[in-house]
């Protein structure tokens, strides 16, 4: 770095230009495929099949409409239902556990936490195959509830660890103030901890939603007619013309892009927790 008053050498400017080039190249590497696939999803068939139109000039909603008519509308609805159920189940079960890990000292805590971390790395897709036998007995095979229960198994260790770290980040002094003013643990949790943790918990809920929305293996194994969107794409949409497939990929990535936009502040730390 050059000190003020001194003229920076030309090498400094060259380095800056090279660096800017690398940054732009990296961002292009990520963004270009997304932009192209979205443009192609709305491309008119003529433009897509013409070798001259690198970027389509005529746009249409017909690809999306055709895809939805093929069964993607129902599959999208199914995916939303499964993902919402997964969020509700995994938070109902995981939030209390996350709170316990964040706010209590108890015997066996380290081992239990290590167990959850271990389970998080377990390849959950393998449970789907044997689950079919159980689900047939229970009448859960090919049901959205069945998929949501399997997705809850996948999401639960993440939800416990994420909510735990969110609760840890709520200043304990504020809770202590609550106790001092005569609130019991439940009141303190509801009036102090929960409101402060809410933004983080919301981000965690969206994260869980996306996790279920994106999951394909279990959904494809556990359903036959009640397909979620990725399972529908894998089993039905792959036989459709190319531009219909691009429309499918657009619907798949839409919630993810919205999520990045809303929760970008939490994204790095949340993934940091889930992969550590």
């Amino acid at each position: 770095m050059s000190t003020p008053g001194e003229t920076p050498p030309i090498r400094y400017y060259l380095l800056r230009i090279v660096f800017a080039g690398i940054v732009i190249l990296s961002c292009t590497w990520v963004l270009l495929p997304i932009i192209i696939s979205i443009l192609y999803a709305f491309s008119s068939p003529q433009d897509f099949y013409s070798p001259k139109e690198i970027i389509p000039l005529h746009y249409t909603l017909s690809n999306i409409q055709k895809l939805l008519a093929l069964g993607a509308a129902r599959a999208t609805m199914n995916s939303i239902i499964v993902a919402v159920m997964t969020v509700i189940f995994s938070f109902a079960l995981g939030l209390p556990a996350g709170y316990a890990f964040a706010r209590f000292a108890f015997k066996g805590k380290d081992s239990l936490k290590l167990l959850i971390i271990g389970l998080r790395m377990f390849p959950m897709l393998v449970i789907a195959i044997p689950l079919v036998t159980l689900y047939i007995k229970l009448g859960l095979n090919d049901t959205l509830l069945g998929v949501a229960l399997a997705h809850t198994t996948m999401a639960l260790p993440f939800v416990i660890l994420i909510t735990s770290s969110i609760f840890v980040s709520v200043p304990i002094e504020l809770e202590e103030a609550g106790y001092v003013f005569g609130l019991d643990r439940k009141q303190t949790f509801l009036r102090i901890t929960l409101p402060l943790a809410l933004p983080g918990l919301t981000a965690a809920a969206i994260f869980t939603f996306i996790m279920s929305w994106n999951e394909v293996f279990m959904a494809a194994v556990l359903t036959l007619t009640n397909r979620t969107l990725p399972a529908f794409i894998l089993t039905s949409a792959m036989a459709a013309p190319d531009i219909i497939k691009f429309a499918a990929s657009f619907i798949m990535i839409l919630p993810a892009l919205i999520f990045v936009f809303i929760a970008r502040r939490y994204l790095v730390s949340m993934w940091g927790i889930t992969v550590r």
């Binding site: 660096f19 800017a20 940054v23 990520v30 495929p33 997304i34 192209i36 696939s37 192609y40 999803a41 690198i54 209390p96 556990a97 709170y99 380290d110 290590l114 167990l115 271990g118 389970l119 790395m121 377990f122 390849p123 897709l125 393998v126 449970i127 789907a128 195959i129 044997p130 079919v132 036998t133 159980l134 399997a150 639960l156 416990i160 840890v168 643990r185 929305w213 994106n214 999951e215 394909v216 293996f217 494809a220 194994v221 990725p230 794409i233 894998l234 792959m238 497939k245 691009f246 798949m252 990535i253 993810a256 892009l257 999520f259 990045v260 994204l267 790095v268 940091g272 992969v275 550590r276």
Partner: protein
């Protein structure tokens, strides 16, 4: 008053277990039951008698794709993971510098974290197919005269490349987040101390940053290896069974051939491989976790 206080502390003592029990019970049931059931499916026949027929089918039957699947799963991992680590290291170092638009660049680089394997596969399909972006672009530029074919059984090596591109594009973000977090934790003081002693960029990288990044790189390596054995959606979308992988074969045996025993065996094999890798991981980083628990 005294009894009241004791009652309170009794509840306090058991409360954490009560809070954790439902989640733990759920996990143990939904993992334990399928695993038990999986062993039964894999090692018994329709009459419930012990059999190794599924094992023989998996290993030796000409219609089983186990060995090619294992080979291609490992080959994909061997090609994809090193590229991802290098790229993620590069991204991390790039973002450790201060520049205008740094936050923006960070958000852009993590976008693929939220994109599914199926969508990632489809996105790259739109770029690489005969009428796709790159073929049209290179033809317009006169670099090629006819489209380069990426898809179809006769183009298996190209399908392999397509999968590598899609996975590097989609899942490098995950490796990047781990390594970037590790880089953030390196204290500025070490680097400043090195600068005081006149260390150049390369010396700093070689003797301070790389050694201190080692745990993060190891973590990223192991997690990526774990995921590599579950690769499914992107392969199914781009290559179908042309490039067989373990999870894909499990899916095929289960839903197309109805070989539940064989499919269960695949599931057990993927689980066993992952448990071994996970065990190594926990062994290596246990101390680090316990520090985080205390945090």
């Amino acid at each position: 008053m005294t009894s009241n206080k004791q009652g309170y502390s009794l509840v306090e003592r058991y409360l954490p277990y009560l809070l954790i029990a439902p989640a733990l019970g759920y996990l143990l049931f939904f993992i334990g039951y399928p695993l038990t059931q999986g062993v039964l499916l894999a090692f018994t026949d329709q009459n419930g008698h012990f059999t190794l027929q599924h094992v023989y089918y998996l290993l030796y039957s000409p219609s089983s794709n186990f060995w090619p699947a294992l080979e291609d799963t490992l080959a994909l991992a061997a090609v994809i993971i090193p590229i991802q680590i290098m790229l993620a290291l590069g991204f991390s170092l790039m973002l450790s510098a201060n520049f205008k638009g740094k936050d923006m660049a960070l958000y852009i680089l993590i976008i693929p974290l939220t994109i599914s394997d199926v969508a990632g596969g489809l996105i790259w399909y739109s770029l690489l197919t005969a009428n796709g972006f790159f073929n049209k672009l290179f033809m317009a530029l006169g670099i090629i005269n006819q489209p380069i074919q990426f898809f179809g059984y006769q183009f298996r090596p190209m399908e392999f490349i397509a999968i590598v591109l899609a996975e590097v594009w989609r899942a490098t973000a995950l490796v990047f987040v781990i390594i970037f977090a590790g880089l953030q934790m390196i204290s500025r003081e070490y680097i400043e101390a090195a600068e005081v002693f006149g260390a150049g960029t390369w010396t700093k990288l070689r003797h301070i940053i790389f050694p201190m990044l080692k745990p993060s790189v190891q973590t990223a390596l192991l997690i990526r290896t774990l995921f590599a054995f579950q690769v499914f959606g992107v392969v199914m979308v781009l290559a179908g069974r042309d490039i067989p992988v373990l999870a894909g074969e499990a899916y095929y045996e289960q839903t197309i051939l109805y070989h539940y025993g064989v499919a269960a065996l695949y599931a057990l094999i993927i689980a066993a491989i992952s448990v071994v890798i996970g065990y190594i991981y926990i062994k290596m980083f246990k101390a680090q976790y316990l520090k985080e628990v205390a945090m």
